[in-house]
Symmetry: C2
Subunit: 176 residues, 2 copies
């Protein structure tokens, strides 16, 4: 069953795109989806996330815990921070996340892509990535890269990411 | 012949490390080498490079030209900009360059590593990379990555970079 309908349907998202999830800095909420149970999926670019809520999301997919101090710093210095929300009535829940580092000109690298297990296999990871790519492309970034674990290479491939194009290899430094 | 001697030799670089190559912002000049002809190799972290000089360096290795406006922006938003200089008397020449994007906390990605052909095969690329890695490690960045063209994979491998560790794949996005 395709549970979430018409993601990125401009005509449906008009009113919701003016909504704000967070007080304070202006933020963008777009890509709204209307689900069958009346809930919506929203994307936000705010950096004012509750880090404990983010940690809970990362815990849910089994990631190693990281110091919140460093997570906060990484968010501050990411070029793009994307969060995905399940909203039903007055309740909202963080269900997805991605961020990107960048030189703001040529290159961006996407890190920490996560969708809560309760919301996987519904096309939301794809939507999260498309939203992220769209924002990077809007910023005139031409080279979008990432490092993919083996089990998600096919997922990213279907989104247009190529492994080792022209023999270019992703490499990780380890101390001698 | 090993032309450049004792790179990163603390005892020899003490006085030179206090030198400034650029007026204005304070900058760091370290890793000085004393060559047989009295010239020195210095590393700098300044972002105040002459972009035409940088373009000349990139031209020398056959890179495609990029708009200087975007190069300037990329330098401003890089976490680290490393330049390598050949200095003899009052003359100085830009002979190497590397930069890194980062979230300032976990990840850094190194881009645009270049050594002028006149100065290749003398261990200077290795020194440039070691200097760059050292600076990233000093900033407590644990995950240092890059994307390597096929012909330089072995070079980076000798520096401790691994291809696809645990099956992690570097991927590049291309539009559908």
């Amino acid at each position: 069953m395709v549970f979430w309908k018409s993601l990125f349907n401009g005509s449906e998202s008009t009113s919701a795109s003016k909504e704000t999830l967070f007080s304070g800095d202006p933020l963008e909420v777009t890509g709204t989806t209307y689900a069958e149970n009346g809930a919506r999926i929203c994307f936000s670019l705010t950096r004012e996330l509750d880090l404990y809520e983010l940690e809970e999301l990362c815990d849910a997919v089994g990631w190693s815990r990281r110091p919140l101090r460093k997570v906060r710093k990484a968010m501050e210095h990411s070029f793009l921070v994307v969060s995905m929300w399940y909203i039903k009535g007055a309740k909202r829940r963080l269900i997805g996340f991605a961020r990107a580092t960048s030189d703001h000109a040529f290159n961006a690298t996407i890190w920490d892509v996560v969708v809560h297990p309760d919301f996987q296999s519904q096309g939301l990871g794809k939507s999260l990535m498309k939203y992220t790519i769209d924002k990077l492309r809007s910023a005139d970034i031409s080279n979008i890269t990432l490092f993919a674990d083996p089990q998600v290479v096919d997922f990213y491939n279907r989104l247009g990411f190529l492994v080792d194009p022209e023999g270019i290899k992703g490499m990780f430094w380890y101390p001698d």
